[in-house]
């Protein structure tokens, strides 16, 4: 059966997420990957990606487009990267970002410093046999997660990958770099 994935298309690397999920679902006939800009776009989706971008901007547009409640109530799994991870948290140090509070964790924005401190690093991720080449761009980290949240990856700066129920959140960008193992892990976790 086909899988329906949406990508929150308010701002950020939307096209990269669309391309990555299309590739991950290439051998699943009847699958679709579509842009989500308004509440109606969420209906019938099995899963949603929240892309990287600027969390202050995306948060503002979520409110403007009437997406806040529909996203909180979304019943599928959410695959969130970078700014998406910030939006999934229930605690963040910036009053301008209204988070969705779907994962009980505290997230620090820009935890690595300025853009020159952005980096590629090879990290171990729980559930993957081989290390993952992770791309961190002005990335956040989770500094504190509640016990029911599964930590998938931790580096000296903090926690950079978590799973909570159907949701997964990453401080880095699995949609960049062509390695789709985490996309497949996410879809498998949803039974898709």
């Amino acid at each position: 059966m086909g899988v329906k994935v949406g990508v929150l298309a308010l701002q950020g690397d939307v096209a990269e997420h669309v391309a990555a999920f299309r590739e991950a679902l290439a051998e699943r006939p009847g699958s679709s990957v579509t842009a989500v800009r308004m509440p109606a776009d969420l209906s019938d989706l099995d899963a949603l990606a929240i892309p990287g971008g600027e969390s202050t901007t995306i948060s503002r547009l979520i409110g403007k487009n009437g997406l806040y409640e529909p996203l909180v109530e979304f019943e599928g799994g959410i695959f969130a990267t970078c700014a998406g991870m910030v939006l999934m948290a229930d605690r963040v140090d910036d009053p301008r970002v209204r988070t969705l509070s779907l994962i009980p964790m505290h997230v620090a924005r820009n935890a690595f410093g300025r853009q020159v401190d952005s980096r590629e690093a090879t990290i171990e991720v729980a559930g993957l046999d081989e290390p993952f080449r992770a791309v961190f761009i002005r990335a956040p980290v989770a500094t504190d997660v509640d016990p029911q949240v599964q930590v998938l990856a931790r580096i000296p700066e903090g926690i950079v990958a978590v799973r909570h129920g159907p949701h997964m959140a990453f401080a880095f960008h699995p949609e960049l770099g062509g390695d789709l193992r985490l996309h497949r892990m996410f879809l498998a976790g949803l039974g898709l």
């Binding site: 990287g52 600027e54 020159v116 090879t122 002005r138 960049l176």
Partner: protein, 298 residues
Amino acid sequence: MKLEELRFGTELIKRGFASMQKGGVIMDVVNAEQAQIAEEAGAVAVMALERVPADIRAAGGVARMADPQKIAEIIDAVSIPVMGKARIGHFVEAQVLEALGVDMIDESEVLTPADEQFHIDKKQFSVPFVCGARNLGEALRRIDEGAAMIRTKGEAGTGNVVEAVRHMRSIMGGIRALKGLSSQELADCARDIEAPVELVVECANLGRLPVVNFSAGGIATPADAALMMQLGADGVFVGSGIFKAANPEAMARAIVEAVNHYDDPKVIAEVSKGLGDAMKGLDVHLLREDEVLQTRGR
């Protein structure tokens, strides 16, 4: 946990940073207060400047990198990325901006060029660069030098979108014209537009530039911003258009929403209501040759 092969400033990191800006509005600001207004309005980044381009035109003289003190104050004031402008070819201004911690450097024709032959060798830097371009050849030469993002030049500080439109149409049309060409014809085209053949082939295969392409230079209203998006821009820079408007906060918010809903005229109509006067603007045909900025650096 194991952490190996740490690498900074790779092409993937630089181009990835630019990708995170897509669908966004980058606003020129001259102090911390304006930077906070821009951030509140939903800007994805701010460009830290001594003066907005309209005032650079008015002031005349040599336009240089902004005072590092001012850039540092703007960096401290906001959580979104801060960009800074260096003169074309002035790699030491770029080194200073990188040392200050700016997140992207604009090697910009708005400032007075420091080198009339060479642009900055951008591959030597960890910080990503954005460069202006008027056509496909210019864009690909800048990418070859290491630019992680292109912006169409337009004519900065005029509040007149006509040049931005001309340059966006030129780049998009240039890419469309590559479609279906044989490898021989692509090589011929590369010689014609004075661009590396590998990049011309890459554009032909992708059907777009290999890096993010924003629009700049004359955007003054929400409709201007949406026009550039419909013409194929990945996002917009708004320079003088925000803080030379009668109500900068309202204009900033409206342009952010117009970019988000660029293909929905009802939303553009709604957000454009009651904004007050946009910046006054200039007729680009009345500029003297030495007042035209877009011809700097080719």
